[in-house]
Symmetry: C2
Subunit: 183 residues, 2 copies
C-alpha cells in the first residue's frame, strides 16, 4: 500500500472500454469508480402537535436545526434507515407512516426520501451528532436557524399533508416545474 500521504484513488477522468460516459479511474491501479447518486433518508417525527428537531453538533451547518436524516447504508431499507437516523440523532423511537416527500438535489447528486412518522414516546435526547433536541409547536420552530432548505420544505409539506388529509408524496422541485425546466 502507498504511504498515506500518497493516496490518490480514482483521479483520472476517462471513458472506460464498453462504457459511454466519463468515469474517474485510479492512475495507480486502474480501478474504475462507478460513482452513483447518494440517498439520504429521514423523517418528520411528530408527537401530538409537536415536531422533533435536532441542533447539529457536526459540520456542515454546525449549531443549526435539522430533521433526523442521513445517508442510507448498504443492505438497509429506506424506512429502516430513517428509523436508525432518528435513533442516532435524537435517541427517538419512531413509527413510520408513509413517504412524505422526495427531494431531488441533482447539483450534488443527492436524492432525499423523507417519511412521515410518529414518535412512539417523547423520551428523546441528543445523540452524538446533536447538541440538543426538542419538540416544537409550529409557531415555536426556529425558522431562522434551520440547517438546510429541505428541512423547511419537509416541515411545510408535513403540515400541509396533515391539515389537508392529502397523503400523496410531495416532491421538490414540484414535478410540473421540473418538467418545464427541462423543456
Amino acid at each position: 500500500m502507498s504511504e498515506p500521504g500518497l493516496v490518490r484513488g480514482p483521479s483520472v477522468r476517462a471513458v472506460p472500454e464498453g462504457d459511454n460516459r466519463e468515469r474517474m479511474i485510479c492512475a495507480d491501479c486502474g480501478y474504475v469508480l462507478y460513482d452513483n447518486p447518494k440517498i439520504v433518508v429521514g423523517s418528520v417525527p411528530r408527537w401530538g402537535e409537536r415536531l422533533l428537531l435536532c441542533r447539529r453538533a457536526i459540520h456542515p451547518r454546525h449549531g443549526y436545526w435539522t430533521l433526523p436524516a442521513g445517508y442510507l447504508e448498504l443492505n438497509e431499507s429506506t424506512s429502516a434507515g430513517a428509523e436508525r437516523e432518528a435513533w442516532e440523532a435524537a435517541r427517538a423511537k419512531i413509527a413510520i407512516e408513509g413517504l412524505l416527500a422526495i427531494y431531488d438535489i441533482p447539483r450534488i447528486s443527492q436524492v432525499q426520501l423523507i417519511y412521515r412518522a410518529r414518535l412512539v414516546d417523547d423520551a428523546v435526547a441528543a445523540g452524538p451528532e446533536s447538541l440538543e433536541v426538542g419538540l416544537f409547536g409550529w409557531e415555536d420552530i426556529p425558522w431562522d436557524d434551520l440547517a438546510f432548505p429541505s428541512v423547511r420544505w419537509a416541515l411545510h409539506h408535513e403540515q400541509e399533508a396533515r391539515q389537508s388529509g392529502d397523503l400523496t408524496t410531495r416532491s421538490a422541485p414540484p414535478l410540473d416545474l421540473a418538467a418545464q425546466l427541462r423543456e
Copy 2:
C-alpha cells in the same frame, strides 16, 4: 497504472480511521471505497388503457419483459432519469404524473423509484437495450414472462391506484410488514 490484468481496486475489508464500519480499501493505493446503495428510476407508462413494456436485449433476464427503468446517473433528478430510461428503452416520450412506488431491495442495496406516467404519443420503438416493445391491455400482459418481481408489483400498484383513485405512493415490502420484520 498497473497492467490491466493486475487491476484489483478496493479489495481489503477494514474500518478506516475515524469511521465505525468496515469499508473496502485498495491494497495498492490506499483508496477507501464509500460504497452506497444504488437508485433505480423507472416508470409505468400508460397510453389510454394500455401499458408500455419492453423485452430485454441485455442480461440479466434477456428476452423477458420489463418496464423502462435503470440506474440514476450523477447530477440527474429522479424524474429526468425516468424520462431518459423510457427514451433509451422504448424511444418513448413520457409525462411524469407522480411517484407510484418505492421498492426497497436491501439484499442487493437497491432502491427503486417508479413513477406513474402517460405516453405523450404512441410512437414507441425498441431502443438498443430492447428486442421489442409493446403496449399491452391488462389481460394481454405477458405475466409469465416478466423479468423481475418488481415489474409485477409496479403493474399491480398502477392498476390499483388508477382504479381506486388513491394516488399515495406504494411500497414493497409494505411499510407495516417491514416494521414487523424488524421487531
